[in-house]
Subunit: 667 residues, 3 copies
């Protein structure tokens, strides 16, 4: 990117009356310099089968061009028109719940040739129509693409072929997937049953992997079409989203972001999060770290909240805090979904920068200050380079496997473990990348955090052992290494291959009830000295025991261990501890890895993020995620606070407003 982008999703088609001129004027006043259009409105652009009408696209493009606002054009393929469903009802996906119904977006079978035929045609028509327009800087293919649980007979056929290609013989499959169990054995390819009803977790997890591949393939196919048309100065991206818990919580189960992002020039994401008293910045940081890590580069926040849902209108200052938090994680764009609040249909209360009255309001007024600062500071803040020595290993395969084999109680899943670890790193201001089972750059890091790596091939675990042997530090949690890539439990003492680096073994595990760590060894106090959900009964071989369980029968077993292995150390957490315990363990690991710095003297709600800008200058963002003003000591070389232009001296005590942000560039 050559500048910071500040944008909105803009739906001229949804406007209750002709507002284009007024909207553009108000966008200009707010410093909006990019809009995303067209990705939801297939039925407007192709009102009947083969009849195309890009009037609304043209008029927006021309008006934006005139106003100097750039445009990202989306392919409108994630919401199909009525005529298609009426003519070909079978484009609606078949799922466990039966066939999807018309109405919602994202209800189609993304493998269905009828859908693909029409999708290809509208993509070609639209992109050919707009690709030469000077306002267009890039394309988004589809939107928040997932597989929508398509699993009808045609998808099943694809899956059987995928299985034959990958495993060659049914004997291998029967063996690796344990299909003898409950008479699930398949002795002839044509007997292969629909996976919809399977109770075999190995097969189910493989099908989930196959479904993620459908998404990767579908997106790459769209990109390949767009690339036939686009100019060299135009990019292609997608808008990834995350595990949704009413907001962007964790790793996306249905898409392998690392695989899927390969086809794109740049990664975009949407990030939604609680605000008001619940605003912490964690989702902004986590989503940003995932996005940045997919391609090891800067990314775009294609959608985030303005007034948000009914209950998350930001407090004064929070919209600014959020915007700069995105930049601090490496975003080059912050765009709101959406410009105006929609007057009908479904997302009426997912409010835009403008309310339904389409007039200025306090949130819009705050956006103006962001737009102004983005423009003024663009060259200093764009393309922030971040170099982290800590990475968290995220695994879609482990996530899926732990959906099949849920933790007791069912309340906690893989992403809870990921976030338990991630959140504590964030709160202690430790910058973090996200790596994945296929990452080949583990050696770039000093410390790996490995939450619940439940399903992993031998090769990965061996690489992790090597990483430690070569001087790296790892913090594992419970369940890591338990099964192989086919979710088959290892037949050796647990945690299997990583036992070597961890210096422990166990063969039994239980669900803790009122269990803590014996003697509060991590000094977290009684209230926090608690574990829940899972406890492995660990026997150390070469490891030091950091904590034993406090339990009348299992007290002889270790809960948390640390092992020197080669030149590095591996910590193993055999239970789901309180956040306070995790914090202590991670503090220790960060120190052991030699990564403890001045930044760790601050902690949440004072958040500090840093990087190097295009001039090679260190840029440090300070955020106050609190309703109370605060202050801190600035420990680095003299610099300048960019928002206020104030000089900041080394070791100066700096004040920061509630929900405040400071950006200090070293001189």
């Amino acid at each position: 990117m050559n500048k910071l982008l500040y944008g909105v999703a803009y739906y001229d088609e949804y406007m209750p009356y002709d507002r284009l001129e007024k909207d553009i004027q108000m966008m200009k006043e707010a410093g909006i310099n990019v809009v995303r259009i067209a990705e939801s409105t297939w039925s407007t652009h192709e009102p009947q089968n083969g009849v195309f009408d890009f009037t609304s696209v043209d008029r927006v493009l021309d008006a934006m061009e005139q106003a100097g606002i750039q445009v990202i054009v989306g392919t409108p393929t994630y919401a199909i028109p009525t005529w298609m469903v009426k003519q070909h009802p079978d484009v609606l996906a078949f799922t466990k719940q039966g066939q999807s119904r018309y109405g919602a977006r994202q209800n189609m079978d993304i493998t269905h040739p009828v859908y693909l035929f029409y999708a290809e045609r509208i993509i070609r028509k639209l992109i050919a129509h707009v690709c030469d327009h000077p306002a267009v800087i890039g394309f988004q293919v589809d939107n928040e693409t997932k597989h929508y649980n398509t699993e009808g007979p045609n998808v099943q056929t694809l899956f059987v072929k995928y299985m034959r290609e990958n495993y060659k013989s049914l004997d291998v499959i029967n063996k690796q997937f344990g299909l003898d169990y409950w008479s699930n054995r398949i002795n002839s390819w044509e007997d292969f049953p629909s996976v919809i009803g399977t109770i075999n977790g190995s097969l189910g997890a493989e099908f989930a992997k196959f479904q993620r591949k459908l998404v990767t393939d579908f997106l790459a196919w769209q990109v390949s079409i767009v690339k036939e048309y686009k100019r060299n100065d135009q990019f292609v991206t997608q808008n990834f989203d995350f595990e949704w818990r009413g907001y962007s919580f964790g790793i996306q189960p249905d898409v392998d972001h690392f695989a899927a992002s390969q086809a794109f020039d740049v990664t975009s994401v949407d990030i939604y999060h609680p605000s008001q008293d619940q605003l912490t910045g964690i989702e902004i940081s986590f989503g940003g770290d995932v996005a940045r890590s997919t391609k090891g580069s800067n990314y775009l926040v294609m959608e985030t909240e303005a007034q948000a849902f009914a209950n998350w209108v930001p407090y004064p200052g929070q919209l600014r805090l959020q915007a700069f938090s995105h930049l601090a994680s490496g975003a080059n764009m912050v765009a709101y979904w959406h410009w105006h609040s929609i007057h009908n249909s479904f997302e009426t209360y997912w409010k835009g920068l403008l309310s339904h009255d389409l007039e200025p309001n306090p949130v819009y007024e705050e956006a103006k200050t962001i737009g102004r600062d983005f423009r003024r500071l663009s060259t200093q803040l764009v393309d922030l380079k971040k170099t982290n020595r800590v990475a968290l290993l995220a695994s879609n395969e482990s996530l899926t496997a732990l959906e099949w084999f849920k933790l007791p109680g069912g309340a906690k899943n893989y992403n809870d473990v990921v976030r338990l670890m991630y959140d504590e790193l964030y709160k202690m201001n430790v910058g973090c990348d996200i790596v994945h089972p296929g990452s080949d750059n583990l050696q770039d890091y000093s410390l790996l955090i490995v939450p619940a790596l439940y399903a992993a091939p031998d090769s990965l675990l061996e690489r992790l052992n090597e990483f430690v042997k070569d001087g790296g530090h790892i913090v594992y949690t419970f369940k890591s290494g338990f099964t192989d890539e086919n979710v088959k439990v290892r037949t050796v003492r647990q945690p299997g291959i990583i036992s070597e680096a961890c210096g422990i073994h166990y063969s039994m595990f239980v669900e803790p009830k009122n269990v803590g760590l014996s003697g509060d060894p991590l000094q977290v106090g009684e209230a926090d000295n608690k574990i829940e959900t899972w406890m492995e009964l660990i026997t150390p071989t070469t490891a030091d025991v950091l904590a034993y369980y406090d339990h009348p029968h299992w007290g002889k077993y270790a809960a948390i261990t640390e092992n020197q292995y080669g030149k590095g150390k591996a910590v193993y957490i055999g239970c789901l501890p309180s956040a306070a315990i995790v914090k202590r363990v991670l503090e220790r690991a960060v120190k052991e890895a030699g990564l403890w710095s001045e930044d760790q003297e601050l902690s949440f709600p004072l958040i500090m993020k840093s990087g190097v800008n295009r001039e090679g200058r260190a840029i440090r963002y300070y955020f106050n995620y609190s309703d109370q003003a605060s202050e801190f000591r600035y420990p680095y070389s003299n610099g300048r606070e960019l928002l206020t232009e104030a000089a900041i001296a080394k070791d100066q005590t700096v004040s920061i407003d509630r929900w405040g942000v400071l950006i200090i560039a070293e001189s």
Copy 2:
């Protein structure tokens, strides 16, 4: 009516052995003077297709005639016989959940010609058979009729035709309903998708309105058939029910009672309610007010509870209290569902006046006293005329729209807001009518209560502005005026058209967490000074602020305002307050409207209801909805307590038993 009716639903067909003579004897002893028959037993009256057998009807009619008990005959169309479903399985309604199954009542497609053919035939046969019988005083067509979510392809076809008739062009529909959103646009009539899967709230709400019209049309069709046969001295009615929460809670979502009642001579309702310590009389009052308001006249309570469900057997005295409470709201009939407790099937624990042993029991014994008093006081109590100066505006359209756009948390719906307001009026002994968006008699009232009028056409809101300008008082709650009749959010500052009368505007709203009103301005005490669920951030223009929010960021916004507009005043409550706050606001409004009277010096659990009898004499009912005896000052002219014949002097202190009732007629 020429007398008070005291009745039961009677199912000779369900009796375990021949009991008719004994039952009639016991009815006579209890003062029962009317029974309802035949409305549930089609399969008995038409055991095979085209074979009719009215033996049980005839024998009951003759026996009742002999005993001097009158009869209301129901058309048996709400529960279809087995032979019909076996021969024509497609009469079972298709809903979102698939096709309904045989077994329950109310499972058919009320638009299906096969069903309509058979229904018409049994109606004609039955009514022709009984209409000349001297015992028959009236007819009930069908029972608790609703649309049963019928929404199969044939209903969809009707809906498309309805849409074309109402809106003429798809362009209008696309625009008004916002169908461009998520590519839902319909560009050709034959593309019109099934509404079953729609996510468009405007379209969904229109379909709900269409479904209510199906009910209205179906009932009018039955009435038109019955009218071909009935004598002039016979009435036709229906038995409406209410939103069901295990009891009769609020406005019925699936039927427009005001529209549907037009076809009938008199409105009947069923009213079920908690009893024992939970007995308040509110449901009796609310259901009665709706019923009375449908035709501005007296009504029948076609069903209410005797021993009720297992957990609601009335305490001694409560059955009497309930019966006279119905009369006090304007009922001319109180009838129990049902005479005896049913020995098999489904409603075995929905007990009748008799238990399963069919012998006298304490509840039956209490009924005897009611029957005696009804008979004795009939001429003084029948046809009570009530004139209220306060009305509550209820809107099926707003109810539906708030189902599509639920309040945060999902725990509260439209009827909760209605009841929050209604209950406080009830408790302060303010008599109340129910009006609806089509009511043309608003000028009859001094004070309108308008809860959450979320979906309303301009014309209605303009009429409400006029009402205030002309000297009326209105209390609005939050969300009123927000969308038009198509559930399209208004594109002006909220609350849109009523801003003029309310003197306020807002464009933002949030979900309150631990928010109260600043400084407890309504003096309700700390425990009650609370709002929940919703808060609009209101800026007054001409309004006085009655309360601000107590909030660190939103404290500058108003919560409750009052505005002089023309000769009247409009109060606007921008949040969901505690009942205590609502009480204070309504007290103030009642006083401002000049309606505060002696009656308001009493309050729940002492309830007072009044009217004028056929002789023009004021009748005042006093009820003690409490387990403690009480007393009160009687502030009116000297009179006579009708139950005891005691003289009551003005300003006399009168005692009232726990769960007691007094009826004082002015001399």
Copy 3:
């Protein structure tokens, strides 16, 4: 049995690598002397339609034979192979939820001729193949058989024929089942509607009975086939299970264990239960009492837990405690499901005796001590004969009927009432048999406990009256006697026929809110003086009142009564009381029945169970179900503790470890 069996389910087919020799060696070391095989692996034994492969069976049989381990061979019919479903998809059961899907076991229509054809063929092939093998001591047909809610059109046809056969005429059915209600009347056999949608509780309960008969018939059919092949020294059994609440809770709703067990030589059951701090032994005792009572003989525990689920790994000592608890109830076999922990599929965390590492572990080590003691004490402990004077009457019909007519709140069902009574008996060390409505040996008992006998024919209730008249004691709970065998409420004063023995009547009942017993007559203290869910308003005729309700309006009604009738006494509990109240009532009843003994001086967690061994010697087991060591006085004749060989003198104080077990044989 000629010896105690100590076994495991063994799945050579599921082993991740060839382990047979190693497994057998480890089994031998643990004292395992029997394995169950083959019951889950049809697809391995018949990999294609008509192609049979018993290799894995043969190799296991031969190896076991060689090792002196006996084998029970299961017919593999409860989990169908992929080829069958692919070729004949309609073998999957049709249920209310639609057709079952392939994947899980127990998904087929057990009445479908296609399934029956293939099932018969594999049974004949397998049994013919193995029946002469010397290792095979018996057969299990199918596994945990139920009807899997099969209720498609073919099952419906069977049901209609069943109804015609049983009731002859529709007139009878219409009358007895109350089908006039809601127009459900059936006037022609071909109109008989599918029962899937019925709301008629009588018809629904009859269908449930019919479904249980399907299970009985299916099992008898399998037994008849096996008997064509089996040797005289081989037995046939089934593995029954119980109402499942994550563990074996109560009476199995879907199988009539008493009827189904008739076809078998010996009854087997599986019993799973909480362990660790939740281990009480109640499920072991309850399941054992049911199993023993089915044939009035010793039984086999075909499955119970070793390491159990993730959260129920036993504390040290508990596995022993559990094993001997089974013996103390009359088991001749204790077998674990399963030997090893499965590495794939569904039950990965339902762990075996071995963990996934297939190595010795603490639980396995404890099993070794059990195997050793079983072998050493086999002749003294096998075939324990138990003679109880107390029986609990369990009724599948009442269970089903109370599913149709649920207790208020829906939280408690029939089995909750059964267990409320049973648990208190258990805790006071009163040995108990289970009888059923068809039992003809009631006279063997002095005290009958009759929980919620809601549906029962006149004849049974008359027999119970006779039982009391002849000197027996009964404790009834609320709802007993309320309906007949067709779930038709009796038309006389309740509790109907048993009123005579109970000396009470009632016609009203309510749901208690904060109700206790007046004056705490059973001296349980304020916290326990509570009733919930149900209260009948009882008037005594000849009965003494043990407790009145403490209630402002219902205080004149009795809650618990006792009546002398003939030579016996009937206690009636008209509500659902606290466990403490039940305990007092049962203590009183045990004493009144003359059954109070030294054993009742001990109570939970000290549990005592006894019987007589093959030598006629009294064997007394003492269990300490507690994490605290304890001691007790041994009140019987001098004896010997069999595990330690220690002599025990009369009146000696004996110590018992936490989770300890002692077995004292009288000298």
